[in-house]
């Protein structure tokens, strides 16, 4: 899974497979990080529902 693990080889199939994997993981990770950070900022800036209906 990582370049330092024993099973890792720099060949086509590994690059395609892990390329896809890390691509997906990055999108998920970056997407969520973005959402959380943006929400923190939004919250700090007082945006969104006031929370006290």
């Amino acid at each position: 899974m990582f370049p330092f693990s024993f099973e890792w080889i720099w060949d086509m199939s590994h690059m395609v497979f892990h390329g896809g994997l890390w691509y997906a993981l990055s999108i998920i990770g970056l997407g969520m990080t973005y959402c959380i950070l943006k929400s923190v900022v939004d919250t700090v800036q007082g945006k969104g529902g006031d929370g006290h209906h």
């Binding site: 330092f4 024993f6 099973e7 080889i9 060949d11 700090v44």
Partner: protein, 211 residues
């Protein structure tokens, strides 16, 4: 910034403080308390002075020798020690323990082996020492120069010697003998082009080191 926020609703500071508290507490737990709990120590049956023996016998192979079938003898058996130690040889307490408790009773000394590999590992000393021309020190470190036996540390969960996984919790090593994990063997095998014939990994085939 935090003071500004604290002014805002008075909670931000507390929240950050508690976040840091939680963070630091768990870091202490993970980096300091956990290793202490994970590893336990045992003392060797008695102290063994490698240095003094080296002076007497001259080489590692004198005691840790190869048998005629090519297998490695490992830690010497009592029978071998008796050659010199029929009687008390010096005046140390360790010598006394050895002769009185073991030699006289024909009891093997239950040495704890720092470099004991797990049961799944096949390791050939002849391949490394005879064919590979490696020095003992490369893997075992400067143990020949030691005058005292350090405590044997083992992992409470796995039961394995700490020397296998290494001292560093980060898994770092400065010397080749600091760690004896699969990756360490693999690294050296790769550098030296030893049997890099696996269909799956194009590296060492599993049966080179596993049984």
């Amino acid at each position: 910034m935090s003071t500004v926020k604290a002014k805002d609703d008075g909670a931000g500071g507390f929240i950050i403080l508690f976040f840091i508290l939680g963070f630091v507490a768990s870091m202490i737990l993970g980096w300091i308390v956990f290793p202490k709990l994970l590893y336990s120590q045992k003392e060797q049956p008695f102290n063994f002075d490698h240095a003094i023996h080296m002076d007497m016998v001259g080489a590692c192979e004198s005691c840790h020798f190869f048998r005629d079938d090519g297998t490695f003898s490992g830690i010497p058996k009592l029978a071998q020690c008796i050659d010199c130690h029929q009687d008390v040889q010096g005046f140390t307490k360790d010598e006394e323990i050895f002769v009185n408790e073991y030699v006289r009773n024909y009891r093997e000394v239950p040495w704890l082996i720092y470099s004991e590999q797990p049961d799944c590992v096949y390791f050939s000393h002849s391949a490394h020492v005879l064919s590979g021309g490696m020095e003992c020190k490369t893997c075992h470190g400067p143990i020949a120069e030691t005058e005292t036996s350090r405590p044997y540390e083992y992992n409470r969960i796995t039961g394995y010697s700490r020397d296998i996984w290494g001292k560093s919790m980060l898994g770092l090593k400065k010397n080749p003998w600091d760690r004896m994990k699969m990756d360490d063997c693999a690294e050296c095998h790769r550098e030296n082009g030893v049997k890099q014939n696996s269909a799956q990994t194009h590296k060492g085939a599993c049966f080179v080191c596993h049984k």
